[in-house]
Symmetry: C2
Amino acid sequence: MTADVLLSSDLRGIESHGFARFVEFYVNRARQGLLNLSPNVRVVEDAPSAATIDGDNALGFVPSTIAMRLAIDKARATGIGMVTVRTSSHYGPASPYALMALDQGMIGISMTTGGNSVVPPGGAKRVYGLNALSFAAPCRPPEAPFVLDMATSVIAAGKIEIAQRRGKEIPEGWGLDTEGLPLSTPEQYYAGGAILPLGGDVLHGAWKGFGLGIMVDVLTGVLSGGRASAELERRYANHFFGAMRIDAFTSIESFYDQMDSMKQTLRASPRLPGAGPLTFAGEPEAALEAEYRRNGIPYHPSVTDGLRQMCSELGIEYDL
Amino acid sequence: MTADVLLSSDLRGIESHGFARFVEFYVNRARQGLLNLSPNVRVVEDAPSAATIDGDNALGFVPSTIAMRLAIDKARATGIGMVTVRTSSHYGPASPYALMALDQGMIGISMTTGGNSVVPPGGAKRVYGLNALSFAAPCRPPEAPFVLDMATSVIAAGKIEIAQRRGKEIPEGWGLDTEGLPLSTPEQYYAGGAILPLGGDVLHGAWKGFGLGIMVDVLTGVLSGGRASAELERRYANHFFGAMRIDAFTSIESFYDQMDSMKQTLRASPRLPGAGPLTFAGEPEAALEAEYRRNGIPYHPSVTDGLRQMCSELGIEYDL
């Protein structure tokens, strides 16, 4: 399950959430005793369309995959399945789970709490999670599926890592330093700075980004009984998964027709000079996946070196 | 049904979507023949947890109330109910429908397409809807329920009306004029200008706001068979409603405890100088509702005058 999700991430070019973090983020956490490697992942509440799963502090991929499969099974039976997961851990990127619904003729939803790096409007300090959500809807091939995968903050933390690698300053409107002043360097963030909610300031919708972050906290943490991000120990994460069977609402052919037609209409709308064609969420990732499936994933040598060294330390044969 | 929704809006201080618009927005549209006043509102697809309703071009409050009641019934039976509505019309504010779920021990969801005033990232012209969503979760009284009610654009159109009434300029980052330049006056907006997606520019998350807007279009328009906002005639609107029974996931007491606890933890977090206490979505509205239920709703005389004149024109007794 872990390999499937990380590979799905790398295949779609979401490098920050694929095997690049496998050793540091998952293997080392397990070696530090922060994960339960013999978890009893179990359904603790069950209704025809709804369930709660306790992850028993497993590696997040496992309860998450089980939960998304359960949501899909429930949607097959009733039209909708929604499953919330408590006491899990980091589950990688949000979209691979949502994508699991698509070839079942369903819409997929995936949400998770993230690290507590976000500051509410008017706040001076990071206090709640980089909560993320994904919403995926199928389209008729060759049209790429619509796959939204977003943090509810102005940026995901990965954008600050990229700025650091490139030696760049942080643009105004991304975050606050520990003094509550605008964040200007990646170092200020790593010293305890905060990221702003989507919208940034109150004049541009920060209450909306904050509200969306709390919505994710309600569905993942409060509804599961796992507690909201602001009250969650860093080793844990909570998630939420949904599947909606399209033909419970409309014919799949009508759905495809209207997705296509919506995209064509918006693509044909006037663009600003130099803006290039309009793309939809999921299209850049689908193009990368097509290329990587032909030519392989171009892993940076540091990723494969890290895997090789881990294998050597753990006495596992390296066979890639 | 119409009176209930408009009154719910006014009681919570959402004046822009209450009786202030009743005559102009609803009665006059009906008199112009843009609404079907003898609609056959009907369920066209039905599954245990899902349904699609055709609104038959009714006044939007009617199919919307029927749809939210159906979602609640389905959630009572299976844990979840999700109902999409096509060929409806303007349904007022999003939150009154979501709020209908709360005293049933449920989370409520409501979404709608809005007028086509939003420009996608890199676009030069308004082309898709001021699509809105509401997410409401109950709290243990006297704690106010969490009620997010937001457009997926930087601002709702009402903010431009307010700027116009006050003779103010438009802040940078809200929209574009018809030349694709930053919107600076309300008049430029009414001449065909556009509002930007939540996030504003690409550096601050405009792709997320655009993606959320398309998500609402998929759930309201494409999933119902009613077409996405960019392809919708102005007289129509599509909606989506959801209800999630909390005790299908966790005990209602645990849910209340963890909602309270989350709010307390966030309220106790450090604030910037002069920022005032942190509020959650729904709290200012709940405070107004408590006041208005004691003292009445302070309608502007233009609202009551408009109702009186309408009654006189239509030969209806005015009795307020």
